[in-house]
């Protein structure tokens, strides 16, 4: 990927048999602490796919920073990639922390993990502003329709008619974070399902290759509070209603392209780092570079009780927020004194002017 420096040699020489990626690291090097989430929680599966994606893409873990808000989902960065700095911030306001962290060091790859409560309820203000700035980061919403950590109240992504275990029925319309993100300016938007290993992995790898805001809404069932009959965010409901809009294929820049594709049915997207994302259309007339069509497809799917997944929107031309700020190449945070403190003459000139 573009922001990846020349890899440093791993400290311990890999054992002969162990499989390594293109920078010589094992999948172990991408692991985190032991999860404390419930067994079967969708969030754990997403952590696994994140590990796979970063391992397979050969991203140096030290070049990644993980950011999260508050919730079961937001705890999960502790359970993958321990060699990356991580910041578990406050509820709903990780976007600002991430923005600041990236301004301090815009050479880093940022991976943000949030929940549906964290992003669509308390954090909707910061969420929409992050999207409109196109801050270069991967933003994953682990979406279970409830507040897991506070024991199962509805969140703002819960569908109308969805039922809690207690029998309470949600009668307010959901916020569709993908539609919002497309409308506001995110440049890579899609939805997946924690149970769909193949699709999620391909989307995560493509996300790593993208420079701009990637919003991935990943349906991630909460087995403890929202996986029962009547829930629209359960494993069963997803198996029955998951409707892929496209089939996501991904060829990283460091792999030779040996598979041909049919331009009639497949859209080939050249990513920032030279990788290729291939979207084979499963819906007629779908065009992931057309925002209006993308949003229309979402609205139709809602009307049909389908949960649309796949890559909905991609724009590789739009400059990212840090590019628009026209920053120097090096991280701002560690510039030497003489580059951030003007010389004596500047102060003297200022003083003269004020006399």
């Amino acid at each position: 990927m573009a922001t990846n420096p020349v890899p440093s040699a791993p400290l311990e020489a890999p054992r002969a048999a162990a499989k390594t990626n293109r920078i010589g690291l094992q999948v172990l090097d991408y692991r985190g602490g032991k999860t404390t989430l419930c067994a079967g929680c969708g969030h754990n599966a997403i952590s696994e796919r994140i590990i796979d994606a970063f391992y397979e893409m050969g991203v140096q873990p030290e070049r990644v920073m993980k950011l999260s808000g508050i919730g079961c989902s937001s705890k999960s960065p502790a359970y993958f990639m321990s060699r990356s700095h991580s910041f578990n911030s406050v509820h709903g306001r990780m976007p600002s922390v991430a923005t600041g962290a990236l301004l301090g060091n815009h050479t880093m790859k940022a991976l943000a993990v949030s929940g549906d409560g964290d992003s669509a309820s308390i954090g909707i203000g910061q969420f929409v502003h992050l999207m409109r700035r196109n801050v270069p980061m991967i933003y994953i919403i682990e979406d279970n329709g409830v507040y897991g950590l506070t024991k199962g109240q509805f969140s703002a992504t819960a569908d109308i008619g969805s039922k809690l275990k207690t029998g309470v029925i949600n009668d307010l319309p959901p916020i569709d974070t993908c539609t919002l993100a497309i409308q506001l300016g995110a440049t890579f938007v899609g939805r997946s399902f924690s149970g769909d290993k193949k699709q999620l992995l391909a989307m995560l790898k493509a996300a790593i290759a993208h420079n701009g805001t990637v919003l991935l809404d990943v349906i991630s069932p909460c087995v403890t509070f929202n996986d029962h009959e009547g829930s629209t965010k359960s494993y069963k409901y997803m198996q029955e209603h998951d409707e892929a809009i496209d089939e996501v294929g991904f060829v990283p820049f460091f792999q030779e392209i040996d598979v041909e594709y049919d331009p009639g049915t497949t859209i080939n997207v050249e990513m920032h780092d030279g990788s290729q994302m291939r979207l084979r259309k499963l819906h007629e007339d779908f065009d992931p570079t057309d925002r209006v069509a993308s949003i229309a497809a979402q609205l139709h799917a809602h009307a049909n009780n389908e949960v649309l997944t796949g890559v909905f929107y991609i724009n590789t031309q739009q400059p990212s927020f840090t590019e628009m700020l026209n920053l120097v190449d090096e991280p701002l945070g560690t510039l030497p004194d003489d580059r951030v403190r003007p010389g004596r003459a500047v102060l003297e000139e200022m003083m003269q002017r004020l006399m």
Binding site: G33, E62, A78, V97, R341, M351
Partner: protein, 623 residues
């Protein structure tokens, strides 16, 4: 006092408004370089340039001068007052009595006139006929509209140019040096030569009208002095912005709010001028946030990733920042927050001065949280403490609050020129990849040096042992998750030690001690100017000697304890209702010393003045 009368009918000063000025002299004896001028205008009438020219002309005559803008929360239409004080003795606090009124606001002119002390002077629009209200005030009626029309053919510009007429009238009456006036005016308009010519013509028209029509009937006069040579004029926000530039601040995220906005706006101007390389690339990032929640979030995020970051706000923004401020304390994140204080709450009287956020900032957030506050008492300290704040934030790994206020931040003050920082930036305890190799790893929250401050690494450090997991509390020395009671207590006690270290690193108090007095005064921030003047009044008028200590930071350094302990009675002078600084002192002092504390408070929205302090203290002392 026009302003107090009109704007603050419900204030604490009620009832003493019309107190006669005991220092008034007979009109025949002159009062040189020691009086105040109040210009009453309407917000949005463009009087700032004229007021600034007047102020700077006096400055150019070598006379110590200060100016204060008292303005409403409004863009155009409401009354606003600008006061200029010339003081040969160098007093720059607000003077309670108005000596010369320039009444440009028909709506308030009667009240403005009525509130003048005996023997004052008034310049006003002829048709207002203010003389009918007072026969004990020197009256100078001016046909402003006619004079303006004569010099300014373009009707559109007359509203602005009209203000320059009063500059000319005042210049003539006060016998000002017209060369100084012209120089100040031309500097004000800089490269806009046509505008300068037009305005200068208006000044001259006012001058000539006064010369031809008035017989001077008041004692006030300006005479050249030599007291401003080599000095600068700047407002506190511009000074703080300059400090941020020289502190190497790289990340700013902010949300506009009076009276703090101009701090960031000044920073933007300076950064564009001095911090863009020849290739057009910037060594800074400035982002206008969606709100203050985001502003402080980004500041802490940037501090975490290694940047010198800041935001500027006022009370309402501080309130929104509460949760993050606590996270900053516990997760030990550097960041600088300027709180340019104003009256609370969000609606009502937001553009008036107060030192009203001390308690809320000192303990901002929940849990056992306390914050370091730096309290500048001059524009020079706005500059210096801005630099200190960034050093301290990284040294102490905690948010640092710089507690300025509207009076300091938005008004013009004279100052010695600022000096260039001699010390390199202090970036605190940060481990590099080489350090990690040498040490074989690190424990983020371990008190290695006994000062309560751990070592940190920055994201991007190229070493497999560099990373750690940042969360609020609930971590052990190695930054691993824990809810063990002993780990929690250990961490909290280390944070306390760190706060004790802060006591030794923050700017120490300034002490003026005669050694003869049993009475101590404590003030801070913009209460300093009036306190100094009040000390002189107490000595001159009541033969009362006082010692003085100016607090410059929280947590309190040791000498503050010693000062209180060594005086029988210590008056804490502050601009808020609830004696907030006194409350903080009470929490810090020993019981035997707490009883020595007395309180003098001023909280009507106007900057504190010396007379109010003197009167209050004399009453409490029973003199």
């Amino acid at each position: 006092m026009a302003t107090e009368d009109v704007a603050l009918a419900a204030s604490a000063e009620q009832g003493i408004l019309s107190k006669p000025d005991t220092h008034q002299q007979s009109p025949r004896s002159t009062i040189v370089n020691d009086f105040s001028i109040q210009i009453a205008t309407v917000n949005g009438s463009g009087s700032q340039s004229a007021n600034s020219v007047l102020l700077r002309s006096i400055f150019r005559m070598g006379i110590p001068v200060s100016g204060k803008n008292l303005f409403p929360s409004n863009i155009a239409g409401l009354p606003t007052w600008y006061t200029i004080r010339a003081s040969k003795d160098g007093y720059v606090a607000r003077k309670k009595e108005i000596d010369i009124l320039i009444a440009m606001n028909a709506e308030t002119s009667k009240e403005d006139m009525l509130s003048l002390p005996v023997g004052a002077a008034a310049i006003y629009e002829e048709s207002a006929d203010l003389k009918q209200f007072r026969n004990d005030v020197a009256c100078y009626p001016v046909p402003f509209d006619k004079l303006t029309a004569d010099v300014c053919p373009e009707a559109k510009l007359r509203k602005l140019v009209k203000n320059m007429i009063y500059v000319g009238v005042a210049a003539q009456l006060l016998q000002m040096d017209m060369q100084a006036v012209e120089a100040a005016l031309r500097k004000q308009f800089a490269k806009k030569v046509k505008a300068a010519d037009l305005n200068w013509a208006a000044v001259q028209a006012g001058y000539e009208y006064a010369a031809a029509n008035f017989t001077k009937n008041d004692p006030f006069q300006l005479q050249p002095m030599n007291a401003t040579e080599g000095k600068i004029i700047i407002d506190g926000n511009a000074a703080a912005a300059l400090g941020c530039i020289f502190a190497g601040c790289t990340v700013v995220m902010w949300y506009p709010i009076t009276p703090s906005s101009s701090l960031v706006e000044n920073f933007i101007d300076l950064a564009k001028r001095y911090r863009i390389g020849p290739d057009g690339k910037a060594t800074f990032a400035i982002v206008q946030a969606e709100d203050e929640l985001a502003a402080i979030g980004a500041v802490l995020g940037a501090g975490w990733s290694g940047a010198r970051s800041m935001t500027a706000t006022s009370g309402p923004g501080i309130s929104l920042m509460a949760e993050f401020a606590g996270l900053g304390y516990y997760a030990e994140l550097p960041g600088v927050i300027f709180d340019v204080q104003r009256t609370g709450p969000s609606t009502g009287m937001p553009t008036r001065n107060q030192q009203g956020a001390l308690l809320s900032v000192a303990y901002l957030s929940h849990g056992d949280t306390k914050h370091v506050m730096l309290i500048p008492g001059s524009v020079r300290e706005c500059y210096e403490m801005a630099m200190d704040a960034f050093d301290l934030a990284e040294q102490l790994q905690t948010p640092i609050f710089v507690m300025s206020d509207l009076d300091l931040g938005m008004n013009n003050w004279m100052s010695e020129p600022f000096t260039y920082p001699e010390k390199p930036l202090n970036r605190g305890k940060v481990l590099s990849a080489e350090d990690l190799t040498r040490l074989g790893g690190f424990a983020r929250y371990k008190d290695v040096d006994g000062d309560g401050i751990g070592y940190r690494t920055l994201p991007g450090t190229d070493h497999p042992l560099a990373a750690y997991f940042t969360r609020g509390s609930g971590h052990n020395e190695k930054a691993l998750y824990t809810e063990r009671p002993d780990d929690y207590v250990n961490n909290m006690e280390r944070l306390s030690r760190k706060f004790d270290t802060a006591r030794t690193l923050v700017p120490q108090a300034e002490i003026v001690q005669t050694g003869k007095s049993k009475i101590g005064l404590i003030a801070f921030g913009t209460s300093d100017f009036a306190t100094r003047e009040s000390r002189d009044q107490l000595l001159k008028e009541f033969n009362l000697d006082t010692d003085y200590l100016r607090i410059r930071a929280f947590p309190f350094s040791r000498e503050i304890h010693e000062f209180v302990a060594s005086h029988d009675r210590v008056y804490v002078i502050e601009q808020n209702r609830d004696a907030q600084m006194l409350s903080l002192l009470k929490l810090d002092l020993e019981a035997k010393d707490i009883v020595r504390l007395r309180s003098i408070r001023h909280f009507n929205g106007l900057p504190i003045d010396a007379r109010s302090i003197t009167d209050d203290l004399v009453t409490q002392e029973g003199i």
